[in-house]
């Protein structure tokens, strides 16, 4: 169309050499220079004229490409015989040659062997024109409205069209239409692809605020169904890779994604459990989940994943898929194996116990309690025996705490009073005395609970959870912090040390804080150390300054995320000051961003802890 630009408009004229060349080609030699010039001008003018007319045909043909037929019609307008034989498939069929100081553009005419053409099989007949409307349209009455299209959103019809065309080309129209359905359901629109990319990047990225938003989106958006297969693949692949690389942080992020997916009421995960459950189970029982098992807190991940597992069992287990029983079997099998095998890692053992115990009191009763004696002996062997590796010690310690926590509440309910230490020892061996004291505490707690509505668990049901706990130990500074989404720093290293004395009646909580500040300081890393009681007190005093920040709000429209505040032993002064928190519990810097359903039966783990 713009064959001439403005500045050149006047000047574009065929070179006189072309005239000469053309004259020679038809046998006229020795053309005068003047005639050449005259000819070229005339020819240029006519060509331009024809091109302008041809453009008209192009416009009316509703194309944006000028074709040879347009030129033919333009010639016809002028009563000129059209040029024959220029049906070229190529856009510009001219070839270029130079030599002898001349440059030539020519139309290559190959000699055609007729026998070749006759002998070659006929080319396939081009497909006939067909009309295609969005599918719904074809089925339903043609005048029914189809769909609401948002501005900017690509029309569904046109998205499908491309496939329609390509597949139709391959297989013909009918087949194309038949094949389209399964493909189109998996097709994501551009917007969806963008969304998926953003979400997955945010979920495993380093920015906690973004992650919180992304998880929120996953947990609440109603339209994610189409992306669900991709999310589930993303998670299972992600776990597979990161377990090998011992990338704890990423595993935590992925588990949080699973949690968010489960929380979304519009998603029906059942079809994707085959991908999700192995991933979750891996996170529970894997031998090693982090690079430094002695310092990194992979225990929290195991707990969290175990809870996820329990939740999915509760939600999805049916008589046909039998998830719960299959999962239970899996755990038991591993557990049994470690029973026999001393060399089983404490981590795996911990995972199994956690997984089983989250499944409910009945499971604990039937599967864990009978094993307590054996397990106690093993723990004893580690803690009292010759110095073994620190890792083992920590592991044993965790297993012990876990067992105590879970079993105590079950025993408290199952066994009759009074609690006799000796009896316990007889029944449960090494763990007996500790268990006894826990049971006593649990009973006390239960009694308290009867009087009070709120207990050790705080359920924060703000639509947007904004609970901030300042870093402990930096007293006084907490007041300046604004409530914000709880953050997990990317370099999360949650640590717990062993309790000062192994005989301490209240085992330290194994739940760890996911905490953060919104002040944006890079020092959001939180290390909780409980080495001595003096430290504990500072922790307590520090938390007391935080009091106003811990808000308890009820009446949120929907419980989005629940934070369990797991108590640490804290000073009584805190309790007295705290109007918000229930006296029996205590706040703590130790918050777990966990999402179990908080109810009486689930909470005893926390309630077993008591002020010293």
């Amino acid at each position: 169309m713009a064959e001439e630009r403005r500045p050149k408009q006047c000047t574009v004229v065929l070179p006189t050499e072309s005239m000469k060349a053309m004259a020679e080609s038809i046998g006229v030699g020795q053309l005068q220079e003047e005639s050449c010039a005259a000819l070229s001008e005339e020819v240029s003018y006519r060509i331009k004229e024809i091109a302008q007319d041809a453009l008209k045909f192009m416009h009316h043909g509703k194309r944006c490409k000028l074709t040879t037929s347009d030129i033919d019609y333009a010639l016809k307008l002028k009563n000129v015989e059209p040029l024959y034989g220029f049906q070229s498939q190529e856009f510009i069929p001219f070839r270029f040659a130079s030599g002898g100081g001349r440059e030539l553009h020519f139309y290559e005419e190959k000699e055609v062997d007729l026998s070749d053409i006759i002998n070659t099989p006929l080319p396939r007949v081009p497909l006939d024109v067909s009309l295609k409307a969005p599918k719904e349209q074809q089925k339903t009455e043609s005048t029914e409205p189809l769909k609401a299209v948002k501005p900017g959103q690509e029309e569904e019809g046109s998205t499908q069209k491309g496939q329609g065309a390509t597949s139709a080309e391959a297989k013909g129209k009918k087949d194309g239409l038949m094949r389209m359905k399964p493909r189109s359901t998996h097709e994501l629109s551009v917007e969806q692809q963008l969304y998926y990319k953003e979400i997955t990047e945010a979920c495993v990225g380093s920015c906690e605020a973004k992650r919180a938003e992304a998880l929120q989106s996953i947990a609440t958006d109603p339209g994610l169904y189409q992306m669900l297969p991709r999310f589930s693949t993303f998670i299972s692949e992600g776990v597979r890779v990161n377990v090998v690389q011992n990338n704890l942080a990423l595993l935590i992020y992925l588990m949080r994604m699973v949690k968010a997916l489960m929380d979304n009421p519009t998603l029906y995960l059942e079809k994707y459990l085959h991908e999700l459950i192995p991933a979750v189970v891996t996170c529970i029982v894997s031998k090693q989940l982090c690079l430094r098992p002695d310092v990194d807190n992979h225990w929290a991940l195991r707990d969290f994943a175990a809870r996820l597992m329990a939740q999915s069992c509760k939600t999805f287990s049916t008589t046909t898929n039998n998830i719960q029983s299959r999962i239970t079997k899996t755990f038991t099998k591993v557990y049994n194996n470690c029973w026999l095998d001393d060399k089983t890692q404490w981590t795996t053992r911990y995972g199994c116990i956690a997984g089983l115990s989250e499944l409910g009191p009945d499971v604990i009763k039937t599967l864990i309690l009978p094993r307590l004696t054996v397990e106690g002996a093993r723990i004893k062997a580690v803690s009292d025996g010759p110095v073994v590796s620190n890792i083992d010690k920590i592991g044993a310690d965790h297993v012990q705490n876990l067992l105590l926590k879970h079993c105590a509440s079950v025993i408290a309910k199952a066994c009759p009073l009074p609690d006799n230490v000796e009896q316990y020892r007889a029944d449960y061996g090494y763990l007996g005395p500790m268990l006894c004291s826990h049971v006593v505490k649990a009973r006390a707690q239960a009694a308290l609970q009867a009087q009070q509505v709120n207990r050790t668990t705080l359920t924060i049901t703000q639509p947007r959870p904004t609970l901030t706990v300042s870093q402990s130990g930096i007293g006084g500074s907490g007041g300046s912090r604004t409530p914000s989404i709880i953050k997990v720093p990317s370099s999360l290293t949650l640590m717990s040390t062993r309790p000062g004395t192994p005989t301490q009646p209240s085992p330290p909580a194994t739940k760890y804080i996911v905490m953060a500040t919104s002040s944006g300081s890079s020092s959001t890393q939180q290390v909780i150390t409980r080495t001595s009681s003096s430290v504990t007190s500072t922790v307590a005093s520090a938390t007391s300054t935080l009091q106003p920040l811990v808000k308890l709000e009820s009446g949120g429209s929907r419980p989005l995320q629940k934070y369990i505040v797991v108590s640490l032993p804290s000073s009584s002064s805190l309790e007295s000051k705290s109007g918000v928190l229930p006296p029996s519990s205590s706040t703590s810097p130790i918050l777990l961003e966990a999402r179990i359903k908080v109810d009486c039966s689930d909470s005893p783990g926390a309630s077993t802890q008591s002020p010293h």
């Binding site: 001439e4 403005r6 500045p7 408009q9 006047c10 000047t11 001008e41 005339e42 240029s44 003018y45 331009k48 004229e49 302008q52 008209k56 045909f57 416009h59 009316h60 043909g61 509703k62 194309r63 944006c64 490409k65 074709t67 037929s69 019609y73 307008l77 081009p126 497909l127 006939d128 024109v129 067909s130 009309l131 295609k132 409307a133 969005p134 349209q137 043609s142 005048t143 029914e144 409205p145 189809l146 769909k147 609401a148 299209v149 501005p151 900017g152 959103q153 690509e154 029309e155 019809g157 046109s158 998205t159 069209k161 491309g162 329609g164 065309a165 390509t166 139709a168 080309e169 129209k173």
Partner: protein, 751 residues
Amino acid sequence: MAAVQDGQLNMEVEKDIKTEITNDGSGNINANSSSPGSTSSGGKSKSPAGSGEDQQTLLAVLQFLKRNKLTESVDILRREAGLSADADDSPVSDSAGAGSGGVPNVSADGGDANSLLSRVSIATPVAPPATAPPKATGSMASGGEDQPDVNVVLSAYSQQGDPVLYPLYYNGLKKFIESVLDCHRAELSQVFYPLFVHMYLELVYNNHENEAKQFFEKFSGDQECYYEEDLRILSSMSKKEHMKGNETMLDFRTSKFVLRISRDSYQLLKRHLQERQNNQIWNIIQEHLYIDIFDGMPRSKSQIDAMSGSLAGEGKRDANKAKVFYGLLKEPEIEVPLDDEDEEAENEEGKPKKKKPKKDSMGSKSKKQDPNAPQQTRIPLPELKDSDKLDKIMNMKEATKKIRLSPDNLPSICFYSFLNAYQGLTAVDFTDDSSLIAGGFADSTVRVWSVTPKKLRRVKSAADLSNIDKESDDVLERIMDEKTASESKILYGHSGPVYGISFSPDRNYLLSSSEDGTVRLWSLQTFTCLVGYKGHNYPVWDTQFSPYGYYFISGGHDRVARLWATDHYQPLRMFAGHLADITCTLFHPNSNYVATGSADRTIRLWDVLTGNCVRILTGHKGPIHSLAFSPNGKFMASGATDGRVLLWDVGHGLMVGELKGHSDTIYALKFSRDGEILASGSMDNTVKLWDTLKAFDDVELDDFTAATGHIHLPENSQELLLGTYMTKSTPVIHLHFTRRNLLLAAGAYNP
């Protein structure tokens, strides 16, 4: 002002003569009005053609015929028009008198410029028409009968000036215009382009090739960008020989470039030219320009830009003064209530209650005659058949289920894509009830698809038909041949690409227009061609059925739009006046008017009854490819290659809106069934929806703007844009609102 009016009359005369020149007398409006089908009504309204202007026109035609010694035609025309022989003499002498000696002066053309100037200053309005017409007509006699003689047309260029001085003249004027006050500058700048064109042509004509080239190179850059296409054509013309047969050249010569300039600015220009004794320029202005002088404030640059861009300047103000009955015709009273209610009662219980009040309101509305509507019998319309009545009832029923559209409630869009069309889809149309789609293709075929489960069936052959029991109730069903049922049918018959396609409102016929110069009428009962209408000798770009059926309009490369009736093989009317190809045609909803869009970048509205051009709408900067009337007939929308949609008030002949947003040619425009939303589809693979209610509300029409036509366009086209919908790779070439306001779009997928 009165004087201006006089001058205008003369212009009328002149224009008519010119149209004939372009038409090479092959057919003219008045002669054709006697053609069958419309004789009765045509004659009736013709006789009171007492309005001075009409008579004047007639007389001019008579005069012209006399000069050409076509005495027979003179007699016929006189009889037709009911003019006595002596009646025509006196007014003619009158008009000659009005010419005030201009005519004799002209023959001694190029003479004393001063005297010319002085005459102009005395009788300004008379001056413009002075030179050209007598010359053209005078030599017409000697020239060929069937081809406008280029030499004649060009002879006006014979005046010789010193070619070297042309750039100086032009530069001088340029300097002057740049130095005048801002308010006048924009107006006077309009002179540049026509002046440039004519000076260039003069140079070329007088064989000053090099000077012409230099002149072009020097000043072509100054011209407004929307003239680029024309400049390109102009630039290719560098020899006198080229001018022969060049259509664009003829356009420039045979029509005066119309400029609207305020009196103050005009005086300024005149004074300047007089002082400088700049005869060359003054001659051009007089001969080739028509300056429409108005009293009042000079227009602003944006106002001018909005209206300019056409091949021959703006439409004259007086061209849009005729009254247009844009109201809708009264819906015929159909005895719906009785059988309808019966039906309803049978079908459902709940519905009749709902429907009743609506029916009443509709009934009462249709009883009142719209003051802007034409008389019911202004043009004869076909009688309603039973099937039409049934269809109307269906239509009303569907209308009650119509979705009310608003900016918050946009229509759903369903896109029909043509696959494997290999860039060959050239036209699409839907039936009004959206049950059929027809496509015209570059391979000369027309294809019809059924988009409902009902398949397309052919009527049985004559032999089989005779065996059918004609008394049976389902005879209509029986005549169809089940064996031929298929989803689509192909119609063969054209010998060139099919550029226009249109269903008849009763879905029995289909029209197609093609490159081969014919319009064909197809039966959708037998799927055969019934008639080939020959008349256009060149490609027919578009054709369109009247909303009441029977009539149809076609327009093409020969610049003449023809009105046909399906049962006549010759046109009933020929609408001549466009200066370039007619690219699109459209009937007004009341069927009394026809709108044509053209490559000369104007839209004309023609009166079907009289054949007169009643509106010339300028403002587009590219060939117009789509037109749409609002359902109430009051407004019109047009889309062009420049990617802009312009909105027009048909009654006032004013531009009322400009919708920018598309980046390529707009091939489809459609108002929703209630007119709240305008949908536009373009080559740029988008459908856009516009809020037309707001667009029409925003326009304030006070008396002044209505009178002068100087409209301030609201600069808010982005606010009016309600949505943009992309297709993947499918240019949108047709849009259609179903009766329930679902938007259907169609186009060929471009892999």
